[in-house]
């Protein structure tokens, strides 16, 4: 993992008790994780009373550096020992390293789940609705009399809110074909998970 000089400078500031006191440091780290995990907490740091009277430019720089560190560390799935050595290089004392690692261990998975959703993927099926109709007649034909299914797949589109639907109709035979294929896929997954 490589961090830019700008980020490293920010981290050095974060480890420096002359610029960031112990309480401020722990607030900054917590906020850095929260800001990444929940969009609504992104700018909480701006209103935080802990930093009233502090140099806002420093707070900003440190916060940005910590957010970058968290995102990059989670992206590369770093363990606590690699993080420790990185922070040591940035002149963190043991206490601060421990504070960071404790929160990192607790929140890493959440950040990674979030990161896994970044990027483009095909539409992801999350649910399905179906309805069964009996097709009786139309304007050209009487006594059609066949069962028709209407299937609506609910899909999530990457990085856009809400669900989009994929709708189609199918006869009993076609649905049988579809379900048969899905069962094959399920079996294949089951086999792999057991081996």
């Amino acid at each position: 993992m490589e961090l830019s000089q700008l980020v490293l400078d920010g981290l050095i500031l974060a480890g420096d008790a002359a610029h960031v006191n112990d309480k401020g440091f722990s607030v900054l780290v917590t906020r850095a994780f929260d800001g990444l995990i929940d969009d609504r907490h992104k700018n909480l740091i701006a209103k935080d009373p802990s930093f009233r009277g502090e140099d806002q430019a420093v707070v900003k720089e440190v916060y940005a550096a910590l957010v970058t560190l968290v995102a990059e560390a989670a992206k590369h799935d770093l363990d606590t020992s690699s993080i420790s050595s990185l922070l040591e290089e940035c002149k963190f004392n043991n206490e601060r390293i421990e504070t960071f690692n404790k929160i990192y261990t607790a929140k890493k998975q959440l950040v990674q789940i979030l990161l896994s959703g970044v990027g483009t993927t095909p539409r992801h099926i999350v649910d399905v609705d179906w309805r069964l109709d009996y097709y009786i007649k139309n304007n050209h034909l009487e006594k059609v009399n066949e069962a028709v299914y209407l299937v609506s797949l609910k899909t999530e589109v990457s990085e856009s809110p809400g669900l989009k639907e994929v709708q189609f109709s199918c006869t009993q035979e076609q649905l049988q074909d579809l379900v048969g294929k899905l069962k094959d896929a399920c079996k294949c997954l089951e086999k792999i998970s057991q081996s």
């Binding site: 970044v118 990027g119 993927t121 179906w130 050209h140 069962a147 994929v166 189609f168 649905l175 899905l182």
Partner: protein, 199 residues
């Protein structure tokens, strides 16, 4: 259920009452051809010259037969009902037999043509799937995320559409379970009773 003919239709068909059975057979063949492939007015001219009648009379006769055939196929009337229906038109007995044979042999085909005209929504055509394990992405390296990628093909009339979709194992099992329930529902006593009673 009997077919009802209006006076105009009866009038159009009346031309066919006095012709030779061989000519009627020819007319039946032409009507069927036109239902399948669309009308070809040139044929009317040729037949009209041979029979020395106006082309319009031939056209009316053929269209009358086409209407008779499509209407009875549309309603899927029984053999007896068909016979009783054409009885009122005044055809000779050999002609009635000819028309009945025409109807019975070709009603399935005519219904297939009619069903193509019906409105339809995109229909399931095919599904292909594959199992992937996502190992890394730009935003997250070192992951093991199983993904089932699917290509769903639907058909809307002649147009084929492809949807590339994906899902995770949990949702795949859920999807399969829900659709399997849908499949079982059709076999339920309730559905069967309804199907039996709608005739």
């Amino acid at each position: 259920m009997l077919l009802m003919f209006d006076d105009k239709h009866k009038n159009h068909l009346s031309f066919l009452l006095d012709i030779d059975i061989a000519v009627l057979q020819e007319f039946c063949k032409i009507s069927l051809e036109f239902i399948k492939k669309g009308a070809n007015p040139k044929v009317y001219q040729g037949a009209a010259q041979k029979l020395s009648v106006p082309a319009e009379t031939v056209q009316n006769g053929v269209e009358g037969l086409m209407y008779l055939l499509t209407e009875s196929s549309k309603l899927m009337i029984s053999e007896i009902d068909f016979q009783d229906s054409i009885l009122t038109l005044g055809f000779r007995e050999d002609m009635q037999r000819e028309l009945l044979a025409l109807y019975l042999t070709h009603r399935r085909e005519v219904r297939a043509i009619l069903s193509e005209m019906a409105m339809d929504v995109p229909h399931y055509h095919n599904l292909e799937w594959r199992l992937d394990v996502q190992l890394a992405s730009r935003a997250l390296q070192r992951q093991i995320t199983p993904i089932v990628t699917m290509k769903l093909q639907t058909k809307d009339g002649e147009d084929m559409m492809s949807h590339v979709l994906q899902t995770d194992p949990v949702n795949l099992v859920h999807l399969t379970k829900v659709l399997d329930e849908a499949l079982q529902e059709i076999k339920s006593p309730y559905c069967r009773r309804i199907f039996r009673n709608i005739k």
